[in-house]
């Protein structure tokens, strides 16, 4: 009934889809690092443009799909922009020229610039996340973590099983609430729901663990690989494009600093 966001075959077959999730993760972290140090609109704009172009070009994601995944963050970014523009510390500095007055509040151009930079930063972080989420299946991420980052097998398999359980928890909660309502109790919220939910989750986890052990999960022998994740041309292309965008963003930052 509730289905996790699905990644289409076209996205999986794209360059971004074929690149190792670790490559995407590394590039994404590098981008986030730059965004962390730079409160400035320019690098954020460069990275938003780059990840949008990357999603549409290298990722095979239809524009509508990308926009739909990205849209909720526009609201958040707008909130950040408004709050920081109105309440920004720069508004208190008399040296800054007034842009407009909202009753007792004075809004300055400097505060607007900071607000824009922070809002764009939210969008840029979101763009990185959307690019990763729309081209990476959990199975492949787990495979890459085990095969390329040499994380323990049990950890990765356990995380995968847990990830599959999340949508079912949402269903359980909906049913438990209905169960309260049909017994004449206000259904919306009650601490007992949490306990029942926990019991269901633990019992199901026990059954899944049993099923996994029945197929030799607990044997401890090193498993062979049905799916292979290996470095390839896609990693080169994605890595080069990602680093190129990072360089451009850094350059734009330098330009605004030196001006």
């Amino acid at each position: 009934m509730i289905v996790a966001p699905q990644i289409g075959d076209r996205q999986l077959a794209s360059l971004l889809g074929r690149a190792s999730p670790l490559t995407k993760l590394a590039i994404g972290l590098a981008w986030l690092g730059l965004l962390l140090v730079a409160v400035d609109s320019r690098p954020a704009l460069v990275l938003i443009a780059a990840s949008t172009a990357g999603c549409l070009g290298l990722g095979g994601i239809p524009l509508r799909r990308f926009a739909r995944a990205w849209a909720p963050f526009l609201v958040a970014a707008l909130g950040v922009l408004v709050v920081n523009t109105i309440l920004g510390a720069a508004n208190l500095d008399a040296a800054n020229p007034t842009l407009l007055r909202l009753g007792p509040l004075r809004v300055t151009g400097a505060a607007l610039a900071v607000g824009m930079a922070l809002g764009l930063r939210v969008l840029a972080v979101a763009a990185v996340g959307v690019a990763f989420a729309l081209t990476t299946e959990a199975t492949r991420l787990a495979d890459a973590l085990v095969q390329q980052a040499h994380l323990p097998e049990r950890f990765a398999a356990g995380a995968l099983a847990a990830q599959q359980a999340v949508p079912r928890l949402a269903l359980d909660l909906a049913t438990l609430r209905q169960a309260r309502r049909v017994r004449g109790l206000r259904g919306d919220w009650h601490p007992r729901l949490l306990l029942s939910l926990l019991i269901l989750a633990v019992r199901r986890a026990g059954r899944v663990a049993l099923a996994m052990d029945a197929r030799g999960f607990a044997s401890g022998a090193p498993p062979s690989r049905y799916r292979i994740v290996s470095w390839g041309r896609a990693d080169l292309v994605v890595g080069a494009a990602g680093l190129g965008a990072l360089g451009l963003a850094a350059l734009s930052l330098l330009i605004s600093w030196t001006r």
């Binding site: 289905v3 309502r181 049909v182 017994r183 206000r186 498993p223 062979s224 049905y226």
Partner: protein
Amino acid sequence: MGGPVGVVFQRPGDQVVMERVEDDVAFGLERLGLAREEMLRAVPVALATVGLAGFERRRSATLSGGEQQRLALAGAIAPGAPVLVLDEPTANLDPDGARAFLERLAALRAAGTTVILVEHRVELAWALADRILVLGPDGQPVAQGTPRDVVASAGGTLVAAGIWLPPEIDSLLGVVPVVPPVGGPAGRPVVTADRVSYAYADARPAVDHVDLEVGSGERVTLVGPNGGGKSTLGRLLVGLLRPSAGQVRLGGDRPDRLAAADLARRAGYLFQDPEQQFLAGTVLDEVLLGLRRDERPRAAPLMASLGLPLDRFATRSPYDLSGGEQRRLSLACVLIRRPGLLVLDEPTYGQDRTTYRGLLGALQEHLDAGAAVLVATHDERLTRDLGGRCLRMTNGVVEAVA
């Protein structure tokens, strides 16, 4: 476990480990350390053996319950286990899904696999068996041998223990068939659905323009495959979901707008999975939950009639009961309010002959008192025994069964 013995459990969804079908089949092969080339050969063979050829890249969450159960079977046989152990593998499947599953088992047995099937509804599986081992309540063997031998040596014991047998064995043993409950002609309408639709987010409608009326004293059974929309329709009728289009009327009101306390006196709903509706720590607290003081004395006689006497069960945890006991406890929680509309999703799950009769008796009392009863079920015996109107629901659409 693992390796030489393949295991299939009861709940289809709880055995799927991986997101994609082929990865799930390969899961056990990887643990055996098979070479990749061998796995690439073995996975499609195992899927074809269970009738899921071409399903390799499908997401397991999108399969029906019957398909998921056959996927679990594929995962169990892929390592080439000579012995298969199955624990009530068809308990959650619709009749067609169950038959398809047992056909695959028969083919495996013909190909030389040893199949050990644990089952307490043996009608479908009886014909497959070479040998039968009957265990008593204490786990001790009661009888063992070919089906013919077991009927000859322990037929009476089986009947007395309430074990379901195929109809031809029943008549051989002289078992009296269940007396179907008598419903009067439908009285004034209790619930009506007028062009009702419901769609979950991003999916085709689960209920698609359904018209339905159930009258006082009337019983209606709703059959059809897993995922056909039966549970969703049931929840719409008792106001647990709000229709996306159309209207539900419960005695003139829209049930989704009723206050919970009011709704609970007018409509009862039995959820398919008993565990998903437990909200208390003990059996007694569970059955009394939300009741008025004057309704509480109903608990003792009702629980006794359903085979859960309070002197033995009151302080136990609902989760520690057997599946069949959980089902009867959840049913008691619905019946105790004596609502005018009863919507029951798989009420006979896990019931033996004795408790089944008790359940039909309880339904009869409610019908006599003028309740409207709608039952969604895969249990063909219940559909037969309950009588009344039978509707089939497929892809969200309801049609009458001739």
